[in-house]
């Protein structure tokens, strides 16, 4: 199920975007209906069998940010996005938000992919690397624990 969904959603998204190169930031999300476990929808998106279709299509290697929640029909789908090559590039921290008026039903699951073609307009937060330099910390251990 996960690969079939991953392939179908990726194909649809790339067709809308025009090409994988047009997508600069990406992410995923799922919602379990109220009679379902959070695990049920999570199983579908938290697997390389789902996400790798998207990675291949946009030429990326990074983690896909996500939300995995439970809710009634018309729950807002919030898809957190990050730069597909660089999770520390804050200009590209964006969120896709929309809802489906009749989904999920109590025994349904919603699975979604999100994309952005550029970063936030007029973005002016420094990136993670300038924070790290200012704090004298390492990418691998930002809080120095």
């Amino acid at each position: 199920m996960a690969p079939v969904l991953g392939e179908m959603l990726t194909e649809r998204l790339i067709a809308l975007a025009g090409s994988g190169d047009a997508i600069e930031a990406y992410g995923k999300a799922c919602i379990s209906g109220t009679s379902c476990e959070v695990e049920h929808a999570s199983e579908l998106i938290h697997t390389l069998q789902f996400g790798n279709f998207y990675r291949e299509a946009v030429g990326a290697k990074s983690y896909l940010g996500f939300t995995n929640i439970r809710g009634p029909a018309n729950t807002q789908i919030q898809i957190p996005l990050m730069d597909k090559h660089d999770t520390g590039r804050r200009s590209h921290y964006l969120t896709v938000q929309f809802s489906i008026y009749d989904a999920p039903d109590v025994d349904e699951l919603v699975v979604a992919l999100g994309a952005a073609t550029r970063g936030r307009p007029h973005h002016r937060i420094g990136d993670r690397y300038s924070d790290l330099a200012a704090l004298g910390r390492d990418v691998e251990n930002p809080a120095g624990v």
């Binding site: 998204l13 999920p104 699975v111 952005a116 007029h122």
Partner: protein, 39 residues
Amino acid sequence: MIPELRKVATFDENVLSEGGRPSDPVLRMIGVAAVIKNP
């Protein structure tokens, strides 16, 4: 294709301005979602 697939929905927006200033290039954000019966 997917037996339990009820529908597929799309969200597609072009953000032309932000804070009263134009966005150049326009920001396009897209979401695609599948609704399935819990298998």
